[in-house]
Chain length 219, copies 2
DNA sequence: GCAATTATCCGACGAGCGTTGGATTAACCC
DNA sequence: GGGTTAATCCAACGCTCGTCGGATAATTGC
């Protein structure tokens, strides 16, 4: 080997929890608190207490409070983007098999996305707060959320081009889907209703909406 | 007349603005700020500045900050409830004229509600915040929001009983409508998209959803 | 052993917060 | 006029906030 890039310990005082980087522990605690209570309602001292460290340690690892908030979003959206891109890739591939397969692919994408939301309540709550306070999240939107929207819009464009949708221009379709997902995200974040029942009904709602966009049933 | 209950001036120092009660001015300013930025992000001094009075004057008229927040909700929901009850009353009356008239009545209710939301952005924003932070608004929900939900649920129950809907039990219907309205409220509060276009598309979305719930087209 | 480096925490600063007591002003009633 | 009542503001209280300088501890490299 040319150079030894082995992961050797660097000098300095060891971390409290050697199994996880302190920055990761802090980000996880901060994300949970921000998602539940919002930016202004959470103090850095609360974050520090939840992470089991001092306030100065939080600042040491994440800078100012605003930078900590940004870091939480970056961490959440990275996971979300990866999962969505994988699901959209599968749907787009199935799209080329004709309108009937396209219908099944879109319905499958719906299920995948619902599952993803169900498994990550913090993501949904943070997403909702982004929707609620656009001024604070304007820059974050440009960096993290915009690519996700483009992903869904492109996919539905492709579905329309493949003749899988009734709408000639899927603009209304996109908005309808976004609204529906939006409402579900809000309901999830608010913890309304029994999760199992809510998931079942949301699926039914989305599939019904998709059915309304298809032409008459195929052969 | 038995007693003179004429609206005579009471003693005391006169108000700054004799045309409007100071409490009303304060509540209007506070509602706008709370709707835009949320409870924690708004200080009483900001409310006072927006209302053109001193901080102590705000406290004098509305008590603590939490009580001020409650008063803003009471004021907003009172107007909302009145408008919705009137619209629902008209829809319920039309419901007795048979399924065809019921379909038109529900579509009309949709239009009335969309108009109402469009005209009151503060109401929509406050409503959204209630959805977002259920812990803070638990008591407010019981007092103000629950009757409105019951109103819509009862109306759709009646529509199902009149044979205007395909669904035997309109539970999914209610949830779908709530979700759709929900998403629209969020979009309104976030100021996404051009208002005219947004309104047109939201109407189209709701009507499409309602159409999906009807049986085959009548005579 | 000794320096270098890094993580962590203590303590304090200035600012802003919600809230309250009391002074002031201006109307009413007699 | 004097007394009462109500509306408004000023000033200050205790508290919490975000932030930062610097001390301490623990590890690596010499």
């Amino acid at each position: 080997m040319a150079a030894m890039t082995m992961p050797r310990r660097r000098p300095g005082r060891p971390r409290r929890d050697e199994s996880r980087p302190t920055r990761e522990v802090v980000l996880a605690a901060a994300t949970a608190l921000f998602a539940r209570h919002g930016f202004d309602a959470v103090s850095l001292r609360e974050v520090a207490a939840a992470a089991g460290v001092d306030v100065a340690t939080v600042s040491h690892h994440t800078g100012t409070k605003a930078q900590l908030y940004d870091a939480c979003f970056a961490r959440v959206f990275a996971a979300e983007r990866a999962a969505l891109e994988a699901a959209a890739g599968r749907a787009r591939a199935a799209l080329e098999a004709g309108p009937a397969a396209a219908r099944a692919a879109l319905h499958d994408l719906v299920d995948v996305f619902v599952d993803f939301l169900e498994d990550r309540p913090e993501t949904t709550a943070l997403w909702l707060r982004r929707w609620l306070e656009p001024q604070r999240h304007a820059e974050l939107d440009q960096r993290y959320a915009a690519p996700l929207y483009r992903l869904v819009a492109d996919l539905l464009d492709a579905a329309a081009a493949a003749g899988a949708l009734v709408e000639p221009t899927p603009y209304v379709t996109v908005r309808s889907l976004v609204w529906a997902v939006h409402g579900h995200v809000v309901a999830l974040a608010a913890g309304v209703g029994s999760p199992a029942r809510q998931r079942r009904e949301f699926r039914a709602f989305l599939h019904r909406l998709l059915d309304g966009l298809y032409g008459p049933a195929g052969p």
